[in-house]
Symmetry: C2
Subunit: 375 residues, 2 copies
């Protein structure tokens, strides 16, 4: 099956909607949470182990896979699905986000709320052609262009791919922002042309930019909507808080045709999902639930449970009452508390499984509420 | 079902034998490999996940569980099986080995081939009563006596428990060795009496000592064989190499009644198993297969496969052809190579599963060879 977005229900109360995305590797309902599997795997679990969670879509990072094991190895393995054991849909990004995070370090960190990067500034050149950066693995110079990212993503073979964009720093002035936006549009068009010359059953999402400017957001959305992309990522600077984010979505979504899905790039914690789903966002990716798990934070409908706390030492109940996940079925908070205190890696695995299960249930609830026009 | 050792076949060619050990939590064939789960869990996997491997027996360490989460927590959880999700038989040791390793540091390291300990000398006192050591967790003084270890192991609730012994340093002189042996015998008798006053469906194995001395090994074996232990551990100094080890077994096993099982303490790599099974050893415990897995070494019938090596970059085959394990069924060497290179924890998990599966198959083969009188 080719890529297709099926609109199931448009809420009467907001722009929120329920849909179904079809891909060559399976279909899933939206709004959906997209787990991040940077190196082709989610951290601390393997794809087969979590297959019963039916994760709708997994987000893998082209930057990391480009450096290891390299697209040729993945291609020879039969593509990312075959290589990694992931049976459902996969999306890859362009690699640009990581490279520009290296270039603009602290600003990208500010945008994404990340800590300081370890690798220093290893970006050698940025020009109209693309970016040249230094591999942190072997020091070699790596070219990333609108064409090369598509060629790499063709080899990786994800269901959804993303064109090259420039991630402008948050504090960039208006004039520079306009220039960056124009270049991003040229780059996205070049990526799209490369893709369309050899679509290979893959879909491509544009990345809408424009920072916090109403005018530029509209301009970007209108331009990208005029091109035959299969869906839209909403990226670029999304501001510093939920208020900024909602404003950006308000400036953007109205100019995107409703028959194509919208993905919010890099944001997928439950408060942000809850705050933005009414703007008509269909998919959200975030490493938050898996990262929280490795920090002993289990997500539940009653808020986070911090499993290292002494309160859980003799808590012989599952993380969340009624949760159908493997972890809640077989283990107690007390056991998980012990595993975390004893530095056992299975603590990460078991809490990751629960947190993913929680996200699936949370999104199901959101879908239900939209179907009932309550959102 | 109570503890029972059933002798199935005595080889005509050597002292090797095939048997079946019955415990309240299940039965298993011997000779068997016993995986080490120090904190109650095997490292990088959880018990439910590996239940299809049917691990015969898992070895948990009282020293670690005493310090965290403490025997009271485990008891309140319903015992180690209930707490950890392990459905099959469990054996716990006395805690003495770790404490004496702290006391005699480098010598115990020499015996066991371990690296230098991190905790320094935290043993406060050793006398006839027992040992006092400092908890590395909270600095408190912990008493370990022949009675207290049994009380702790009653709370943990393993199927097989072990009396307190003293682990004499390898280079101890003859006279000191005799004194240590006599004290170990007094301690083991005190542990046994404590156990028999409240057996609780648990079995207790003695620990045979005597270092490399033929005379002391015979003395220890004869004395312990005269007591109503359910089986025998072979411990104390086992020498520096396989030759020493075989000599110790030769000095020991002949004096142990054949109707009780014999466990070789802390040794269970395949070369050592292969070299000693003909001495009539029934079970072997070792962290080798699980530790090797975390160092990217996969065990196979054709020798170890070092998964980090570049040779496996494009090796799109399972770790071992024909291996029925989860890892070999779903993943390739190439994928595992990538996971190790990308520092993904699932590499440890997947390789651990394979290595355990390999050990099960290896022991099956040994059992078969003994049944055919080929060993």
């Amino acid at each position: 099956m080719m890529f297709e977005f099926e609109l199931i229900h448009q809420s009467k109360k907001s722009k929120a909607r329920v849909g179904r995305i079809h891909t060559p590797n399976g279909s899933f309902m939206t709004p959906a949470f997209v787990a991040v599997g940077t190196n082709g795997t989610l951290k601390s679990v393997d794809h087969v182990q979590i297959s019963d969670l039916n994760l709708p879509l997994v987000f893998a990072n082209t930057y990391h896979l480009l450096l290891h094991p390299g697209p040729e190895v993945v291609q020879k393995a039969g593509g990312l699905h075959q290589f990694s054991g992931r049976k459902g849909p996969i999306i890859t990004d362009s690699g640009g986000f990581q490279v520009f995070s290296l270039a603009y370090g602290s600003v990208a960190d500010e945008i994404k709320g990340k800590g300081r990067k370890k690798h220093g500034n290893s970006v050698l050149k940025i020009n109209e052609e693309g970016v040249i950066f230094r591999s942190y693995r072997d020091g070699s110079a790596v070219h990333l262009t609108p064409e090369s990212t598509v060629n790499v993503q063709k080899k990786l073979g994800a269901d959804i791919i993303i064109p090259l964009d420039e991630l402008p720093p948050y504090h960039m002035g208006e004039r520079a922002l306009v220039k960056a936006l124009e270049r991003t549009h040229r780059w996205e068009k070049r990526s799209l042309d490369t893709h369309l010359a050899n679509p290979k059953n893959q879909a491509m999402y544009a990345v809408c930019h424009g920072g916090l400017s109403k005018e530029l957001r509209e301009k970007s959305a209108r331009y990208l909507d005029s091109l035959p992309f299969n869906g839209f990522g909403i990226g670029g600077s999304l501001g510093k808080n939920t208020e900024d984010l909602c404003r950006v979505l308000d400036y953007t979504v109205g100019f995107l045709s409703p028959d194509r899905p919208r993905h919010l790039l890099g944001i997928g914690d439950t408060p942000s999902i809850d705050a933005t789903v009414s703007y008509g966002i269909d998919t959200f990716d975030s490493s938050y639930p898996t990262k929280a798990a490795r920090h002993a934070v289990a997500l539940t409908a009653n808020g986070p449970v911090r499993l290292r706390q002494t309160a859980h030492r003799e808590s012989f109940v599952p993380i969340e009452k009624g949760c159908p996940c493997y972890t809640c079925k077989h283990y107690t908070r007390s056991w998980l508390h012990h595993l975390f205190k004893a530095h056992e890696a299975s603590a990460h695995t078991l809490t990751t499984i629960h947190n993913l299960s929680y996200m699936m249930r949370h999104m199901n609830t959101i879908q239900q509420h939209i179907l009932e026009d309550r959102i």
